[in-house]
């Protein structure tokens, strides 16, 4: 068991195994996103209330899912790094943060654009959007803190700790923002929570969500591989590897 975990944590081993996995995730991500896009944009029926503007859901919701999942994954990776000192986990957490911030931005942007036909305004302090905005700030904090330290080890541990503190706070923030929203804006129309979406509507959504997750895994694997090369550039196996390539 321990041997397995440590093998899993070995950058060299990970570099080899991820090379074989990576193409599959790229293909899966491309295929799922393509199918989901065509289905969602062209074939899914229009919403009876929102018409075709509802098709924004197929990018908004997957991005929002990913934005939250990436933060949680980042915190878990930070925990693994702090407890078992597995540097690979920290390398993954490093490359995840910007992607998570990008996804949060996508969710915010698509939500804001969606707001124009739905609410007639570019920005509404909707509970979901507000939570997303706070999540974006949390991402900025983690990225900025990592960049502020001169020692890489301290930077990693500080960022891991902040991610863990953040992930404990996310449910609290979400709950309090929901509560605050219902207090101030009772009974406004919510964009995404609706009862009983027909299958032709949610199937492409599901495909898009899966596609986004595959995309996240593929990008993280690829960038973690780069991060491994960067951090282990003085190790013999990396040197030999770069010689081989050249």
């Amino acid at each position: 068991m321990w041997a397995f975990i440590h093998k899993l944590g070995s950058p060299k081993w990970f570099y080899a195994i991820s090379e074989r996995l990576l193409p599959w995730f790229w293909v899966a991500a491309a295929a799922l996103i393509l199918v989901g896009s065509v289905w969602g944009l062209a074939f899914a029926p229009a919403d009876y209330q929102q018409g075709n503007s509802f098709r924004i859901i197929y990018v908004h919701v997957p991005a929002a899912f990913l934005a939250q999942s990436i933060f949680v994954t980042m915190a878990v990776a930070g925990f693994i790094f702090m407890v078992w000192k597995i540097k690979l986990a920290d390398m993954a957490a490093t490359v995840m943060a910007p992607l998570g911030a990008a996804m949060t931005f996508v969710a915010l942007f698509s939500g804001a654009v969606w707001g124009v036909p739905t609410w007639g305004t570019w920005w509404m302090w909707d509970a979901r959007l507000t939570s997303m905005l706070i999540l974006l700030f949390l991402y900025f904090g983690v990225i900025a803190l990592r960049g502020a330290f001169s020692s890489r080890d301290s930077a990693s541990r500080a960022a891991s700790l902040l991610a863990m503190v953040g992930v404990i706070n996310i449910p609290i923030i979400k709950y309090s923002v929901d509560w605050w929203y219902t207090l101030h804006q009772p009974a406004t129309f919510s964009m995404t929570s609706r009862p009983a979406m027909p299958m032709e509507m949610w199937a492409p959504l599901l495909i898009m969500v899966l596609g986004f997750y595959c995309f996240f895994i593929a990008v993280t694997l690829m960038r973690t591989r780069s991060e491994i090369l960067r951090r282990e550039s003085s190790k013999r196996w990396v040197r030999e590897l770069t010689m081989e390539v050249s």
Binding site: I33, S37, L41, A42, F43, A44, P45, A46, G51, N52, S53, R55, I56, Y58, V59, H60, A63, L99, A102, F105, V106, F109, S110, V113, W114, V116, P117, F215, V219, M222, R223, R225, S226, L229, R230, S233, R236, V238, R239, T242, M243, V245, S246
Partner: protein
């Protein structure tokens, strides 16, 4: 198919601007993430290769700088106890 024609598809029932803006920005960002990851890897490999070649090349030719660099692996530590 939820649309009768291509123009209807592009118009999205009057909401075309919003739908295409949201999708467009999302698509651009995904592509940008992929391109960035690829560029990052390419630059990194180039730097690593250049560094590897430099240490190799100098070692064959002359100079002490590279001598130090390539020999390091044989000098185990620089610590002496007295």
């Amino acid at each position: 198919m939820a649309f009768d024609s291509l123009s209807a598809f592009l118009a999205m029932g009057g909401h075309g601007a919003y739908v295409w803006a949201a999708w467009g920005v999302t698509g651009l960002l995904l592509v940008a993430v992929v391109l960035h990851a690829r560029a990052e890897r390419r630059v990194l490999l180039r730097d690593l290769r250049r560094r590897a070649r430099r240490t190799q090349g100098y070692g064959a030719a002359e100079t002490q700088v590279s001598h130090q660099e390539t020999q390091v692996s044989h000098q185990e530590g620089h610590v002496h106890e007295s």
